[in-house]
């Protein structure tokens, strides 16, 4: 269960609970700042906010996990890394049950929202085809 009350990152999970995917962005220069932080190194401003994304992305890389490391994650499962179409340079992680053998780099992925506990929601990523 993720820690969802961190001063810098809580907004990401609050948005997910409402069914939105967000990225921290600079209101002045538009730079994306993920993982979320308050200061924009690109323009030197503090005027950052949560920006909603469409939830479309492409697949960057993945791994099929075969050795169990976490008691709550039964192997095999597949961890994916995606780049949102409307936030170039940002990367999000997702996981899919089982060995997903059909993955191809650059394939289209879409966000889904998974409730993992009491009011805790994780953005997840699946191939669109």
């Amino acid at each position: 269960m993720p820690y969802t009350i961190d001063a810098d990152t809580a907004g990401f999970f609050e948005a997910a609970r409402e069914g939105h995917l967000v990225v921290r962005s600079c209101s002045d220069c538009g730079a994306n700042l993920h993982p979320p932080r308050q200061y924009c190194r690109h323009c030197g401003g503090w005027n950052t906010r949560w920006r909603k994304l469409t939830g479309r992305a492409t697949l960057v890389t993945w791994t099929i996990v075969e050795q169990q490391m976490l008691p709550t994650f039964e192997v095999p499962y597949t961890v994916v890394l995606v780049e949102p179409d409307d936030a170039p340079g940002v990367r999000f992680v997702g996981s899919l049950p089982g060995r997903v053998e059909s993955l191809q780099a650059g394939m289209a992925m879409a966000v889904t929202f998974e409730t993992v506990g009491d009011g805790v929601v994780l953005p997840q990523w699946s191939p669109t085809e």
């Binding site: 820690y3 990152t9 791994t63 099929i64 075969e66 890394l81 940002v90 780099a105």
Partner: protein, 391 residues
Amino acid sequence: MYDHRDRCAIVGIGTTDFTKASGRSVLTLATQAGAAAISDAGLAATDIDGIVRCEHDEVRHNDLVETLGTANVTYWSSVGTGGAAPCGMIGQAVGAIMSGQARTVLAFRSLNGRSGRRFGQAGRASPRSIGGNGSYDEFFIPYGLAVPGQMFAMIARRHMIEFGTTSEHLGSIALTCRQRANANPNAQMADRELSMQEYLTGRPISLPLRLFDFCLETDGACAVVVTDTERARNLPHRPALIRAVAQGTSRHPQMGLVLPTLLRESLTTQPSADVAETLYRRAGMGPEDIDVAQFYDCFTITVLLQLEDYGFCKKGEGGPFASGGALDIGGAIPINTSGGHLSEGYIHGMNHVVEGVRQIRGTSSSQVAGAETCLVTSGIPVATSAMILTA
């Protein structure tokens, strides 16, 4: 500005045996390696006036002052992050010596990495509340992505995607390290040969990485003694001159400990590329001047990335380069001549420092004939450090 080129040298090396269950405390291991290094340098414990440790070490500087009797210590420091530290630790020693804060510095790493606190394991964090407070684990561990092996598997996959790298390419690195270990009586894998067939059918851990892509887990310690070159000339062994040393992060390294490095725009260029530039500039050398290299090898892919980042081949060509014989004794750049983390033992980058000194002395169990320069690197991906030793 000051220039540290060849101003200091490594004059003493010491290691313990490398095992799965030492039956000793990390302090006993550190004391054994430290005493061996001081003795090898032809010095007494009271000659040591500085101690540098890795910030991950469970042994503190005052522990060693007490157990070794290094009663004159007036300087100490701790260097991180984890495996990125060892060459940076040598850099701290050089800085202390050149600024007059110490003259003779002991640097060490000690761990019960198999029988005690094992790295690369998950599950310590409370499942009720993962991450937060500057860890950023909340973006990774709830997805089942918890350990460096899984992260490096995704980096390896990305290298395969961008450049066509294959498992056989990675396997050639595992086999090279194993062959060097087979010649090193102190290596954990001294008596265990490895074939490409065994490598390719190794137990899948986090694909595309399999068992033999992973380093060993080791109980043991390594220590070295650094002093100024003037004093070094009067000690028993040929000094391994520290031609240059460098630390560095990526330009945009990402926050947190390890896992957020996966969110960088490029996974196939690592902070080793930035450190290489600094190191070669400081040394007045390039990859063509290096006779032998000790690459930090927590995974096979780690070596492949560094072969490219340190300029031994072009970006993307590390796979064919590695599998074409370049890494063998007599090849373009022999590597990890004690067997490295993959096959000698995992002393968190410090066994690479020790082996670099052996190559300069001419005493390696896989000696590169006439070696006068050795590149030693420390861990990626968070940040890294490296140095060039010369005869």
